[in-house]
């Protein structure tokens, strides 16, 4: 990246996305079916919540719109995450297949290549549509005034949430430089944390709350931002500052993980079994 200007990088990014798009369009029916399937899979939790709330109207003072607004952050930020960082998500495959060695020989930044080389359109759309549906149905009925500063904060929260999730994935990606395979454990932790975060964390015992704040910080992806927009009583349980921290947590995690990444790349030795 050192010798290339910003425009050249953008051009490269454009070429990469064109390639990804072409691959996707090559299998139109298959990819649309996958998009539909992801949409259905993600709707399970939404439908269950809908059925529960149709019956009970509210849970601990949270009504349906507020809960769905809380939920929409998870989908929208995940959608952005897979749109930009699909390469990071699947990084361990890259290392195990030996494909990563090819990246090493190219005269561009490694992280840039990993990020640019892959776009998972079905996942982006599948999650994105669920998120948009929830957002559109709730954003204007939970009492948020959408002025410039709120919109700006909202965008920074979605981006911050995407970066937080990307950092969690990158951390395990770095592990694979030392041939440590923890995909299963990561998926277990990541997707369970995400599932737990679907409801306000104040519903859970404090051990789980602390886990979602300090260890797998999903609470900054949706709970605290929601509290910023629609203040509920249960925010009393937590420090007020958390409500503004999402972008900070995102940046911090990304910086820390990038450092690990550098150390990892330096000590990387190929798995030596390129399959292609």
């Amino acid at each position: 990246m050192r010798n290339s200007g910003f425009f050249e990088m953008m051009n490269l990014l454009y070429q990469y996305s064109k390639l990804s798009l072409k691959v996707t369009l090559e299998f139109k029916l298959d990819r649309s079916m996958i998009t539909l399937a992801i949409f259905c899979r993600e709707m399970i939790a939404v439908v269950v919540m809908l059925l529960i709330l149709a019956r009970f109207l509210h849970i601990r003072g949270w009504d349906m719109n507020q809960l769905f607004f809380l939920y929409s952050f998870l989908f929208l930020s995940y959608s952005l995450f897979v749109f930009i960082f699909a390469g990071v998500r699947d990084f361990d495959q890259l290392v195990h297949s030996g494909e990563f060695d090819r990246y090493l020989t190219r005269p561009r930044g490694l992280l840039f290549q990993v990020i640019a080389s892959k776009i998972d359109l079905p996942a982006t759309l599948g999650h994105g549509v669920v998120g948009l549906l929830l957002f559109m149905n709730t954003a204007f009925s939970v009492g948020i005034i959408w002025n410039a500063s709120n919109i700006l904060f909202y965008i920074s929260v979605i981006v911050g949430g995407a970066v937080i999730q990307a950092s969690i994935f990158m951390l395990t990606a770095v592990m694979s430089f030392w041939a440590i395979r923890i995909e299963n454990v990561r998926n277990l932790i990541f997707f369970n944390a995400r599932r737990i975060a679907g409801y306000p964390i104040s519903f859970y015992p404090s051990l789980i709350q602390k886990m979602l704040i300090f260890i797998v910080p999903f609470s900054f992806v949706n709970y605290f931002p929601t509290q910023y927009f629609i203040r509920r009583e249960d925010m009393e349980l937590f420090w007020d500052g958390f409500m503004y921290m999402t972008p900070v947590v995102g940046v911090l995690m990304f910086v820390v993980v990038s450092l690990f990444w550098r150390i990892g790349v330096r000590s990387y030795s190929s798995s030596g079994n390129a399959m292609y």
């Binding site: 059925l51 849970i59 277990l188 369970n192 409801y199």
Partner: protein
């Protein structure tokens, strides 16, 4: 018969090898149960929200459902893998019934999950979540019978989806959509009695409630005895219907494979 028992045993032993996966899915089940119970506890705090229903009955429902889900989990891409790799052609050459072969494979893995996951997770649940015992010994026996039939209903629904890999090669989307339907309509995640009437009426006409809902109701003693026989009969009928559909599809698939040449 010995052959198929041997196959099931092999499949059982195969599962023992993957220790990390095993521990991971055990933890996964416990976490999921834990989360769901926390949510239902929160709902319960609203005054009279559960309409007189005791919270521990609901908790037992959720726990039993998730325990059953761990056992009912099947290798959804087993047939697809065989079709795509072409291994299916050698399987068909062997002097065995392919469908029984697939079934024994799943039986082995089901038994593994029953012994290694269901039982430890249940013991943990009794301790952690104060799981209620079955309503009575008689109901326990009915529950076991009905749960086995429920497994078969799900197996045959799954088989129909799996066999579609002969036409589509990639079955991820179909499997996932099927899963979504099963998870919502079978009462695995939320008891069917909480659903709106029109949806209950619809579910009554599908095989889905025969998978989780019927056995759990029997376990809880919430189904009158004369209804139990009807429900079990319904399960048997669904198994026969779904089996026949699977049979027809299999015949066509096998023919299709000959045309394609493997």
């Amino acid at each position: 018969m010995r052959l198929y028992l041997e196959l099931a045993k092999k499949s059982f032993q195969n599962h023992i090898v993957y220790r990390v996966d095993y521990v991971a899915s055990l933890i996964n089940a416990i976490v999921l149960i834990f989360v769901n119970i926390a949510i239902w506890r929160a709902i319960n705090e609203e005054e009279g929200a559960l309409a007189g229903l005791q919270l521990n009955i609901l908790i037992t429902y959720i726990v039993i459902s998730f325990l059953m889900q761990t056992v009912y989990q099947m290798d959804e891409y087993y047939i697809e893998g065989k079709v795509r790799s072409g291994l299916i052609s050698t399987d068909l050459l062997k002097p065995i019934y392919f469908r029984l072969y697939v079934f024994s494979y799943h039986m082995g893995s089901m038994l593994f999950k029953l012994v290694m996951q269901f039982i430890p997770a249940m013991l943990l649940s009794i301790f952690l979540f104060r799981l209620l015992p079955p309503f009575s010994t008689q109901m326990l026996l009915y529950f076991i019978l009905s749960a086995m039939l429920g497994y078969l209903v799900l197996y045959h629904i799954n088989f129909i989806v799996w066999i579609s890999s002969f036409w589509f090669y990639w079955t991820f989307s179909l499997v996932t959509i099927k899963d979504a339907a099963v998870m919502i309509l079978s009462g695995a995640l939320i008891p069917i009695w909480f659903m709106p009437t029109w949806l209950i009426d619809f579910i009554e006409m599908t095989p889905f409630n025969a998978i989780f809902y019927t056995p759990i109701l029997i376990y809880l003693g919430m189904m009158p005895e004369d209804e139990i026989f009807m429900s079990i009969l319904k399960q048997v009928i669904w198994i026969l219907v779904l089996f026949s559909i699977g049979h027809i599809l299999w015949k066509r698939a096998a023919k299709k494979l000959v045309v394609q040449g493997g």
